[in-house]
């Protein structure tokens, strides 16, 4: 059976416990545009997005991922999705404000996923430079999830027609992480080995790096520098310039720029060695442990937290160094980067 023709990562719904705090973070600081506002929800988009939203913040009792949504190529592909998944649920137009009739499914990896096409158009603010702050965000880029069985997750997504742009592997071709895409960038979804299912982060793109630097400066000025978990830095994987923030509920948000074109069918998969210290940080910096160990709970389609499974242990894989993903970074032989940090 054909899978639905996915265009790209479309939107995410995050459940937040304090909507006012979330509004401060996403609207006042990150500068996302409010398309619509309800007492218990905010619908946000970035400056180049013409659909109703790429992020929904919904007030709830427990911080969690409510839903990841992929946009498909047309309304008929929503039907394809309904056929493709055994337990697909059709939801009528407007179930999520601004979104047409859609299909929801708890995917085989345990994530609440929506497939949709119809969506309300709004004004694209690409050239509304008068409204853009120094840290203007252009668009949602990708999702990153933690999964206990990376091989299964990899098979599931390639089965959905995603291409594999980059991986982290060891010499036995054991996978530690994978980046997969439908749109012509490095990824729409990244898979990281770890206790799961959990959401590692949602990533938004900026046009250039100075906008990410300005965001850091703004957070420092607001004495909110503790929101900065990691970065800015350059990923070896994907070549992207990154910054990781934690929102007031602890959800991780990446701000990201400058990956590369992947649209040709023979686009070469870049295979990083798990032993190459530059895979996670091209500049060789150690990774803060929380980045490997903490992630967001996901909800099932009925709103209940999905129980976690421990990562499957693969024969011969790196042990003792694995926390969640692909091992802590040891920054080479220079004494000053041995990884003890204060």
């Amino acid at each position: 059976m054909n899978p639905p023709d996915v265009l790209r990562a479309g939107y995410a719904e995050l459940v937040v416990t304090d909507l006012e705090a979330a509004r401060w973070f996403y609207v006042d600081v990150l500068g996302l545009i409010v398309t619509a506002e309800e007492p218990d929800a905010l619908y946000l988009r970035a400056f180049e997005e013409y659909l109703h939203h790429s992020l929904v913040l919904r007030r709830g009792p427990v911080a969690a991922l409510g839903r990841l949504a992929y946009r498909v190529r047309g309304q008929s592909e929503v039907d394809t999705a309904a056929r493709y998944f055994e337990d697909a649920r059709r939801v009528p137009a407007g179930t999520t404000r601004g979104i047409g009739e859609a299909v929801r499914v708890q995917d085989p990896l345990g994530f609440p996923i929506e497939f949709y096409y119809d969506a309300e158009h709004t004004e694209r603010f690409t050239q509304r430079y008068d409204l853009q702050p120094g840290n203007a965000i252009t668009r949602l880029d990708h999702f990153n999830v933690m999964v206990p069985d990376l091989e299964a997750a990899h098979a599931y997504y390639t089965g959905l027609g995603f291409g594999v742009s980059e991986t982290i592997e060891d010499e036995h071709e054991t996978l530690y992480a994978a980046w997969l895409h439908r749109k012509q960038t490095v990824h729409d979804i990244a898979l990281t080995s770890g206790e799961g299912p959990r959401l590692h982060h949602i990533a938004f793109a900026t046009a250039e790096r100075h906008q990410i630097l300005h965001l850091c400066d703004k957070l420092g000025a607001l004495r909110a520098e503790s929101s900065i978990e990691r970065g800015p830095g350059r990923h070896g994987v994907s070549n992207a310039f990154y910054l990781y923030l934690r929102d007031p509920d602890g959800h991780r948000i990446e701000i990201y720029t400058s990956d590369y074109y992947t649209g040709d069918p023979d686009n070469p998969t870049v295979r990083w060695s798990v032993d190459d210290n530059r895979r996670r940080d091209f500049w060789g910096h150690a990774v803060v442990p929380s980045w490997y160990t903490e992630a967001s709970t996901v909800l099932d389609l009925d709103g209940a937290p999905v129980p976690l499974a421990a990562p499957r242990v693969r024969e011969g894989e790196r042990t003792g160094v694995i926390v969640g993903a692909d091992g802590f970074g040891a920054a080479g032989d220079a004494g000053f980067k041995l990884g003890k940090q204060v």
Copy 2:
């Protein structure tokens, strides 16, 4: 007695054990321009400098600081320096290639210092954009030294006519570090409390931040990412965007941009609290311990290493958290930044 009228930090001489490795680092990677080359020495300048050199690399048995040199307002100020210091030594023109008659002194803080004015002019490459790499360095900016007695060092430099642009202090006005300037930037010299006398770093400036980011990328591409000790980041103090590298001998080099104008006599001194986590990193990141504990030996005027003294302990000062300078950073109350890092 009047002190010599110092213009600015002028040049430094570093003793390196492997001149070829040093050439690779300073010329091939950093892109400094070779004004002159001898079997045992390299004379380097940056793209906006029209004097013979701002850095001398000299081959020697032990990695050390050979000399810090301040340029004074004229040759008569070299004479003033000769009178100002008890044990001043006059050295004839050419003692350092490209430099005229100068005065050397082991200053009261234990550092080998030269005062000079006459210097050979060379072509200023400000607009030789055809020769500038993506990480072009424009000029030497400042020296940073570790001293056991910060109050004494502060008094010595203000006695030399330096202005105090910024400090780190506690609630008793105990000084933990100070930034002082003659030229109209934040500093020509920074003083950090710690075992000394030692050279903490020499800093060069770029025009913009992207040049610093490119340097990081270049080091990653060359698999020399372990040369990156800390950063890039934003200092709270001085507002500068910083990167700290370690050369093949372990000498620390800062690459730096965007501090501010300090040229008016009433320029306000910015006093940072030692408890403000943003003083050392405006984005709240922990500081790698080596940055606090490691520094370069300095030589006396006869070329012998200067013995170290432990930092003087001040009554009531922060203890238990001090390593060398102003205490390790504790990155606030966010769990993910508690400072354990892998």
Copy 3:
């Protein structure tokens, strides 16, 4: 009959009269990478490209466009192209070095076009930051052609499955220019009304704007500033930050960054009024006349120059102000910007 499934603008072949001068311009100044070199040809690629070349420079008696080549989704699509065009010519693998069996056709607009899929892979230098100059170019982006009958050209390309991202129109929906894409950017091909068929320009992308600014500075330093025809500036159309150069033969090269994602099927077409001064320059600057009037001759499949036709005049279209494309720029009511522009 189905058209071939075009991926994107793939490569161009320019005929140059002085290959050494062209090498200086494209390799020494622009910094393109030489994949292969022959006595009469250079095969060049940019830093993110993993196929053999995106630009071929071939020595010839008259400066001209030799060929525009589109990459299709697979070798079977080359066959589709062979069927789709009446006078298609199959050329064996290696007819162009590095390119597999392909199909060439003089398209209905008079341009020499190749459709290919198989191509030799080379190293992708995305992260070879050690080799990247300050003005590093990442990839070929698009072609821009001048056509006497814009409506016909528009119909031809939409028939080939290209999406229309932006247009310049008047109040009667008369088209003055159109931007069409297959890959998920604003364009692979732009159509400009004018005497044709001629090549207006070939465009390469950079990651950020500072790389374009550095290129200008480099040209100034080399006293080659007369190579800069127009820009840098911001296009209203496409939102791209642009620079137009003229190579030693007069071929026009655009360097370009920061357009936007167009990959969804309902991506809105942006329709600019021919009377909106910001369409060609978002900052309102006049356009140098040569940019409207000069363009490169194109060759037919046998290497003969294709005769030019005057633009078809449409009823009611702007007259008296048209030079080739979409009319003279009038920069508003500010005296200092009146009248000196075309």
Copy 4:
């Protein structure tokens, strides 16, 4: 008699006919900070300035320069100024809000000049990144004036102790323009030959170039692109990256970044040939005629417009190509840049 020890260009007062329009331009668009506001005046400063203002906008019947003010090294230097100028007028503290007792004089070139030291301190917003727009301005940089007798103006300012950083000259050493400084940048004042006395422009600095590009984009978004007179571009002279705007009254404002350190007494004067096309635009672009011909009226100390004198003609100077300053730009031998420029 000793001249007053000038620190730098301190502030300017512009008379504007529509204070609300001026507020829109300087506050809403340029983002200057309002320190104080009165029914007929606005007192503005930039993000790194800690004194009360660097720009006063005062409502008046005719657009004009009200006053250029230099800050001197101390209040005693205000007295020195009072002695140095024959017709000096002392004005009590508060004559200009925020400024202490000062001295005003119509200088020998016909400009209304103030010398002051005491000034109210305000908060320096260097690190208030939360308030800084994408086009944040850091500080006032310099004034540029048109004078009929360039040699006299040059002599007057060097007599005041200004250093000459750059000039435009012909082969007979006839001066066409000169840049002079007290602070350690390329200039505090620039002198341009032309009908005068008139104010050519006031310049503000940004930290980096992207802030200038954002300002252009913002003006385009606001449909105020006709405020952009010239640029952005790179000056050959001073190496600065520039943008020239015209405010609603026609006063010219430059936004400017990246000149170089000039603080050493032997800083070499850069002498540009009037025939080097890169002196005014390092990228070889033509200069819009208004930039050479239009400038602001200046008022005398009693508020009356100062009559204009035609430029003194020097023997053997370039004629036929001079409009005000240093001659029309001829952009070299490339056909596409010929003739349409002044």
